[in-house]
């Protein structure tokens, strides 16, 4: 990525853990297959962590009622 003023080292230090966990735990490609660790294990962990890392509140519920976003 070539964005002006972008320094991966500095950037890495500045990244908030919560922002990173949003992405690495809920984003990315999920592979399901015999050769992987049971994804269910990871999903279980993810559920408990998501409860920790994220919260209810705000826009998500508000947006459920919103056709604009539907």
């Amino acid at each position: 990525m070539t964005v002006p003023g972008y320094d991966p080292v500095v950037q890495g230090e500045r990244i908030a853990l919560v922002d990173l966990l949003d992405r690495v735990l809920a984003g990315g490609v999920v592979i399901v297959g015999d050769i992987t660790l049971s994804i269910a294990e990871v999903d279980l962990v993810r559920v408990s962590l998501r409860a920790l890392v994220t919260s209810i509140s705000g826009l998500m519920e508000a947006m459920d009622d919103s056709q604009e976003y539907g």
């Binding site: 990525m1 070539t2 964005v3 002006p4 972008y6 991966p8 950037q11 890495g12 990244i15 908030a16 853990l17 919560v18 922002d19 990173l20 966990l21 949003d22 992405r23 690495v24 735990l25 809920a26 984003g27 990315g28 490609v29 999920v30 592979i31 297959g33 050769i35 992987t36 660790l37 049971s38 294990e41 990871v42 279980l44 962990v45 408990s48 962590l49 998501r50 920790l52 890392v53 994220t54 919260s55 209810i56 509140s57 705000g58 826009l59 998500m60 508000a62 947006m63 919103s66 604009e68 976003y69």
Partner: protein, 267 residues
């Protein structure tokens, strides 16, 4: 140390091999990454031991926030290093295989998906935009509400208190709905600059290290040549919407835009 059994940790997939990583680049478990190529794709992987990354250990470790933080940062560091050389499709944290053959098989089986994902994210980056509701007690946020207004001569201290408290609650409620309305506008406005976007649930205030509630936690996939425009638009919206404070993060590897299909919240 009986690490006689190991696992292959998969970071992500690139089209062209990303080339040698700089000396000293260490990934998960402190191990430098290597690559596996198959079906015209390259997987960036690392070797990790069973003691820390085996099934039982992993389940325990993922619940340990320090371990999780370290591991997430190491996973991210390798993806960032790869993303500097070209598009990389990130894998979800803790994608592990028993052997290189498993990785090779996945590259072959999922080749079309990976190629599709690579073409979506090429020359584009992910940006995060979060909006926090401005505290209603902030006079900037509620100029219409004179919380400490003059009391009528007939009002005793109790009545005055109740009146103030009511005004505060109203102000707080108004500020909150204004903040949500602003968040909606911001989300829609910024979408115009993006290829696609995704909403994450707002983060809990204590974990996010913020006093004020988060009302928007969005990710956008933006063409690299529009990155400056996107940042400027974010700054402009911050100036125009006094009920929210916006923060911009990124560029990120495209974590939020490589999942299969249109997951919930993905547009």
């Amino acid at each position: 140390m009986t690490a006689n059994r190991g696992w292959v940790w998969m970071y992500g997939v690139t089209g062209e091999p990303p080339g040698a990583f700089a000396d000293g680049v260490a990934g998960v478990g402190g191990v430098p990454p290597r690559t596996i190529t198959a079906a015209g794709l390259t997987a960036v992987v690392g070797d990790v031991g069973d003691r820390e990354y085996g099934e039982a250990a992993l389940r325990r470790n993922l619940e340990d926030l320090d371990w999780l933080a370290r591991t997430a940062r190491a996973h991210h560091a390798i993806l960032e290093a790869a993303a500097e050389r070209g598009p990389v499709v990130p894998m979800r944290l803790a994608t592990l295989f028993t052997s290189d053959a498993g990785v090779t098989g996945t590259l072959r089986d999922r080749a079309d998906d990976f190629r599709k994902a690579l073409s979506l994210i090429g020359a584009r980056s992910e940006w995060g935009v979060k909006a926090y509701a401005v505290k209603p007690s902030d006079p900037v946020a509620d100029p219409g509400h004179q919380v400490a207004g003059p009391e009528g001569p007939a009002a005793g201290p109790g009545a005055a208190y109740l009146q103030r408290r009511r005004a505060q609650l109203t102000a707080s409620k108004d500020a909150r709905s204004e903040a949500l309305a602003s968040a909606r506008t911001v989300y829609a406005e910024l979408s115009r600059f993006a290829v696609t976007s995704r909403l994450y649930p707002p983060q809990a205030s204590d974990l996010a290290g913020q006093q004020t509630p988060m009302v928007l936690n969005a990710a956008y996939l933006v063409a690299d040549e529009r990155a400056d425009e996107f940042a400027a638009a974010t700054a402009g919206l911050t100036a125009r919407h006094r009920f929210v404070e916006l923060t911009l993060t990124g560029p990120w590897p495209a974590y939020s835009f490589v999942g299969e299909g249109d997951g919930p919240g993905q547009r």
